[in-house]
Amino acid sequence: MRNEAKTVIIGGGIVGLSIAYNLAKLGEEDIIVLEKNYLGSGSTFRCGTGIRQQFGDEANIRMMKRSVEIWKNLEEELGVDVNFRQTGYLFLLYNEKEVKDFKKNVELQNKFGVPSRIITPEEAREIVPSLNMEGVIAAAWNHTDGKANPFKAVFAYANAAKKLGVKIYEYTMAKDIKLENGSIKEVVTDRGVIKTRRVINAANGWAKLLNEKIGVNIPIEPYKHQGIKTEPIKQGQIEPMVVSFKHDGVYMTQEADQGGVIGGYALKYGPTFDITPTYEFLRGVSYRFSQIIPALKYVNVIRIWGGYYAETPDGNAAIGKIKEIDDYYIAAGFSGHGFMLSPAVGEMMAELVVNGKTDKPIWFYDPYRFARGELRGKAIQMG
C-alpha cells in the first residue's frame, strides 16, 4: 500500500468511485480510495436499482437530469454495460391531494426538461397490464427514468478509475484523520498511515464516525431498510418502477437482466448498524406487492436483505467543503438516492475540488444547512 497521496477518498461505494473517476478524468493524479470491506458492500450493492428524475425540487431534478444523461452513455464512457434501461417510473395516485402535488412536481420537472406527465388509469394499465387499478385515479409517468445494475456500475467505475491511475484499497478501514494546525496531516488505516493533505468523506452510513474524529458535526444517521427479490418471471411484465405512496412508499420493478421482481417499502429501523432482515418486512412487503399486482401472490420470494439509508434530517445528502478544516470535503447522507445521483455527484465534486466551483446546484446540499436550521423540503423518497 502506498503511504502518501494527494487525495484520499474514504468509501468505495458508487459515490466514492464516481468522485475518484471524475477527479482523475479532470487530470488529478495520486488518488487513493479506501474501502473497509469490498467495493459496494456498504449501501450500493443493497440498493433498489431505480434511477428517476421525478423529484419535487429544482436541485434534485437538475442533478438527476444530468445523471441520466451520463447513465445513458456510461457503457460507452466506461466500456462496460451497466444494464441501464429507460423503462420509466410510474407513480400510482389515489386521491385529489396526491394528484395536485404531483401536478406541481410535473410542472417543475417539465420546466427543467424532464418529460414527465400525469396520465389516466387506463394509460397506466397499458404500461403495466397486471396492475390492480382499484382506487387509482391518475398516475405520474416519466418514460426517461429507469434502472441499472449496481454491481456492474460499481465495477465499471472502479475499473475506469484504475485505468486513470487511481489506487483502490479494499479491506482497508480508515480509522482516524490526524490534523495539524487546521490542515489534514494523515489518514490512519488498519493497514498503516497515509500522508495526505486532502480527504473526501464518501462513507455515507459511516460518514459521521469519521467526522466525529475531527470535531465536525453533520447529522447523518444509518437506518435499516430492506429489499426483496422474487424468482424470475416472464420479462416485460413490470418494466417501469411502480410506486405507491398509499401503500407506504412501496416500489417495485422487474430486473432488466434477470427478470425477478425487486423492491421494498418504507418500513425502517434505527438509527442502527444492524441490517439483519426481518420477518415483519417479508410479510409486509409481500402484502403490499400483492395489493398492487395481485398475480404476485403466486410468485415465489427468493431473498430479502437489509441495507442502509444514510439519512439526514431533510432526506437530502450533505455535499460540499468543510470550512473548519483545509481541503476536507463530504459527499454523504444520500438517504437512499446515492446510486441514482452518483454520476452527477462525482462530476460536481470533482469540479468543486479542482476548480473551486461548479455550475451544478451544490448550494442545495450545503452541509451547514442543518446547523443553520434551514432544512430543505423533504426529498420525495420511497422504500
Binding site: 467495493l39 458492500s41 434477470q258 409486509g284 402484502y287 406487492f289 403466486y298 415465489n300 420470494v301 427468493i302
Partner: protein, 96 residues
C-alpha cells in the same frame, strides 16, 4: 479453436455460471465469495446458493490455497426456500 472444458461445467444452475467464469475472476484477483457472488450471481437464484456455494468454496480453496473453513459463506437469509407471496400473507386480504 480449442474449447475450454471448464466452459461446459455448470457450477450455478440457477444462473448458468460455469467453472471457467468463476476461475477467471479468481485469476483476476477477485477471491472474495461476496464479490464473486455479485459479479456472477452465484447464490442469487432460486436455490440461494444451496447447490452452488459448496462447489464455489471448493474452487476458491483449491485456487487460493486457503482452507475450506477459512472461507466465509455469504449471509443466509429468510426465506430458506422460495415461498410464494400468497403463502407469506396467509391468503388474507385484510391488512396484517
Amino acid at each position: 479453436m480449442s474449447e475450454d472444458p471448464r466452459e461446459k461445467i455448470i457450477i450455478c444452475r440457477c444462473n448458468d455460471v460455469t467453472q471457467k467464469d468463476i476461475e477467471d475472476l479468481i485469476d483476476q484477483g477477485i477471491t472474495d465469495i461476496e464479490e464473486i457472488k455479485r459479479l456472477t450471481r452465484i447464490g442469487m437464484g432460486p436455490c440461494q446458493g444451496r447447490t452452488c456455494l459448496p462447489l464455489v468454496v471448493g474452487i476458491i480453496a483449491r485456487k487460493t490455497g486457503k482452507k475450506i473453513e477459512e472461507i466465509q459463506l455469504p449471509a443466509t437469509r429468510v426465506p430458506i426456500r422460495p415461498v410464494s407471496m400468497g403463502v407469506l400473507t396467509g391468503g388474507d386480504d385484510d391488512e396484517e
